[in-house]
């Protein structure tokens, strides 16, 4: 329990760093917020007035303090494009991004972990070579390009998937929001038609992200399985006459999964970034495309809110990974 609290406290420096960096990026660096808010035709006085209203004429530490205070109250500013508070926008769009990213990760893991295990168990086999090719090719794929290729093949050529335009068909209405995840919400009320519609829209972007996540997971699974399979306790277990199924799935895999779970931190760093690109390709109404729209309209507050949300999510994910690691590995509980 004490270790747990220490770990929670250990995330604080990262949180502080993230808040300082977003402040510095938006307030201190060139690019005058007041000129921007005032619009291109503004006079010098109105710029000065807006600067005073926004508090941009005050000393930096004071500005930073009011920035932190606003954050504590959940005030991320207003979006000029949607006319809504940024926090409201982001909370409304977050489930879309989360559903997509999690499904992508699950697809990636569902393929990568078995592939890595087979590649390690049958070293030098066809599966091993396939694994190596996939790992090298996978890190070279521009995620937005894979997405477009999938759209071309599965929408245009085969006609299997619906148009890449968002989470649901334009004529369908979303299920009543409970979790915000359409698949879960639709399943909760037993609306299987909506569920199928949402799943059909989700599958291509999720597979795109999954292909992207696959390479690092497969590589680390193969490497750590190889390391574990060479260990003495495996030799002992094998000598004791355990079936290779028990040996691989129970003894080796449980140990080999630890580095895999640790690598997920890095995978999430890539996935959250790739998510932005995939959302743009599939017109997915998540926070990534929200940020891209705001960037194009030079709308500062949503971009800042997006960066902060992503960074905080990433810190929380790393924390979660650590907790899973503790659950899996008794040794980690004592550090």
């Amino acid at each position: 329990m004490r270790g747990l609290l220490l770990r929670l406290a250990g995330s604080l420096p990262a949180l502080v760093a993230v808040i300082i960096v977003t402040f510095v990026l938006t307030r201190v660096l060139p690019g005058d917020t007041a000129t921007y808010f005032a619009g291109p035709t503004a006079s010098a006085e109105s710029i000065a007035q807006i600067r005073a209203e926004l508090g941009l004429d005050r000393p930096l530490p004071e500005q930073f303090w009011s920035y932190v205070q606003a954050l504590v109250h959940g005030d991320l500013g207003m979006s000029l494009t949607t006319g809504q508070p940024v926090l409201t926008d982001i909370l409304a769009r977050l489930p879309a991004s989360a559903e997509l990213t999690l499904c992508g990760l699950l697809i990636g893991m569902a393929i990568a972990i078995p592939l890595g295990i087979i590649a390690a168990v049958r070293q030098g086999s066809l599966a091993d070579h396939a694994c190596r090719v996939i790992v090298t090719a996978g890190v070279s794929l521009p995620v937005f390009f894979t997405g477009l290729l999938l759209v071309y093949v599965f929408y245009f050529l085969l006609g299997w998937s619906p148009a890449p335009l968002g989470r649901l068909d334009a004529f369908a209405s979303p299920p009543p929001a409970v979790t915000g995840f359409y698949l879960i919400d639709a399943a909760l009320i037993g609306d299987w038609e909506t569920w199928r519609g949402a799943a059909a829209q989700l599958i291509l972007p999720a597979v795109t992200l999954g292909l992207f996540a696959l390479a690092p997971i497969a590589r680390i699974t193969r490497a750590s399985m190889l390391a574990v399979l060479g260990a003495e306790f495996i030799r002992t277990a094998r000598a004791s006459g355990l079936s290779s199924r028990t040996l691989i799935l129970t003894y080796a895999l449980r140990n080999a999964l630890l580095p895999v779970v640790t690598t997920l931190g890095m995978v999430f760093s890539f996935l959250l970034g790739a998510n932005v690109l995939v959302e743009k390709v599939f017109a997915w109404p998540g926070i990534g495309s929200y940020a891209v729209e705001a960037l194009i309209a030079s709308d500062g507050a949503p971009v800042q809110g997006f960066v902060l949300t992503m960074a905080i999510l990433y810190i929380l994910l790393n924390l979660a990974i650590d907790l899973v690691n503790r659950a899996l590995d008794p040794r980690a509980r004592h550090t």
């Binding site: 420096p13 990262a14 760093a17 993230v18 300082i20 960096v21 977003t22 990026l25 938006t26 660096l29 060139p30 690019g31 190596r132 090298t136 090719a137 890190v139 070279s140 794929l141 521009p142 995620v143 937005f144 390009f145 477009l148 290729l149 759209v151 071309y152 929408y155 245009f156 148009a163 890449p164 490497a223 999430f268 760093s269 890539f270 996935l271 959250l272 970034g273 790739a274 932005v276 690109l277 743009k280 390709v281 940020a291 891209v292 960037l295 194009i296 500062g300 971009v303 800042q304 997006f306 960066v307 992503m310 960074a311 990433y314 810190i315």
Partner: protein, 282 residues
């Protein structure tokens, strides 16, 4: 490089034809970057609306885009900009990140602490998101793309250079240089830095691919290079709207070129690692 190293390099290339292939591809890309603009058959910016959205043919090898520009010419001309951005950012992070890692590993203490905190701060963000934030804050220009791509790679360079330096800090040749009267900086730059150079070069090749992807990704979402400049990320973004109506060539060729370039650098990096550090072969 000594004779034995060259011999080893030849051995690696012959034994692993993939590395040789990557090397040939790399030379091709460099040639395209240098001579491409003077060799291409069409002006990459010249529109020809009468011939818009033509499928690949003998006249236009990669077809034409929505305003009739020749995609082959654009894809080839873009090589210089895409590789240039990546190379500049890698050179930047090699200089600053490599030096920070050297200093950090060699002196330890508060310098190490400060550099470590800076790296941690960068690593606290999802890296592509941080790059987006930097470009959005500093302004939408090519130098800022270079800077942002360099910054997100900084922790990696620091980590590699630091680890390699720590291993050599107590080495005999370092002691010898000290006894010979060299100051700390002299030992660091004259003895340790050349010693970790091969590993750093491998690192550069491996991060080139990531730098190309990152820069193209930024352009794809509208940050950085702007239309009508030929650049792979932007060209894929422009072609994206034609994918759903079946004009695949507008996005496919720049995307394939981008992928090939990244693949080439990743293979080359793996091959170089085999030469420099045979123990880590996979």
């Amino acid at each position: 490089m000594s004779d034995t190293a060259l011999g080893h390099a030849r051995h690696v290339v012959t034994e692993n034809p993939v590395t040789g292939f990557a090397l040939a591809l790399f030379i091709l890309f460099v040639l395209a970057a240098i001579f491409g603009p003077s060799l291409v058959p069409y002006d990459p910016l010249a529109s020809d609306t009468a011939n818009a959205l033509q499928a690949p043919s003998g006249q236009h090898w990669f077809g034409t885009d929505q305003i009739g520009r020749d995609i082959f010419s654009r894809v080839v001309v873009a090589t210089r900009l895409d590789l240039g951005i990546a190379a500049a950012s890698v050179a930047l992070v090699f200089a600053f990140g490599g030096f920070a890692g050297l200093v950090s590993g060699f002196f330890g203490g508060w310098v190490d602490q400060v550099i470590g905190r800076v790296s941690d701060t960068i690593m606290a963000f999802p890296l592509f998101v941080l790059a987006m934030a930097i470009v959005a804050a500093l302004g939408n220009t090519v130098p800022n793309i270079v800077l942002a791509t360099g910054i997100i790679n900084f922790p990696l360079y620091v980590r590699v250079a630091r680890a390699e330096t720590v291993q050599r800090r107590e080495a005999g040749f370092v002691d010898a240089a000290r006894i010979a009267g060299h100051r700390d900086m002299g030992v660091l730059l004259g003895q340790v830095a050349p010693n970790i150079m091969p590993i750093m070069v491998v690192q550069m090749s491996l991060t080139m691919g990531y730098a190309i992807l990152n820069a193209a990704g930024l352009s794809f979402i509208g940050l950085g290079v702007r239309a009508p400049t030929p650049e792979w990320g932007i060209m894929v973004a422009e072609g994206a709207s034609f994918i759903v109506s079946g004009e695949w060539w507008v996005a496919l060729f720049p995307g394939a070129m981008l992928m090939t370039a990244v693949f080439c650098f990743n293979l080359l990096g793996d091959g170089l690692r085999d030469i420099v550090d045979p123990r880590r072969r996979t």
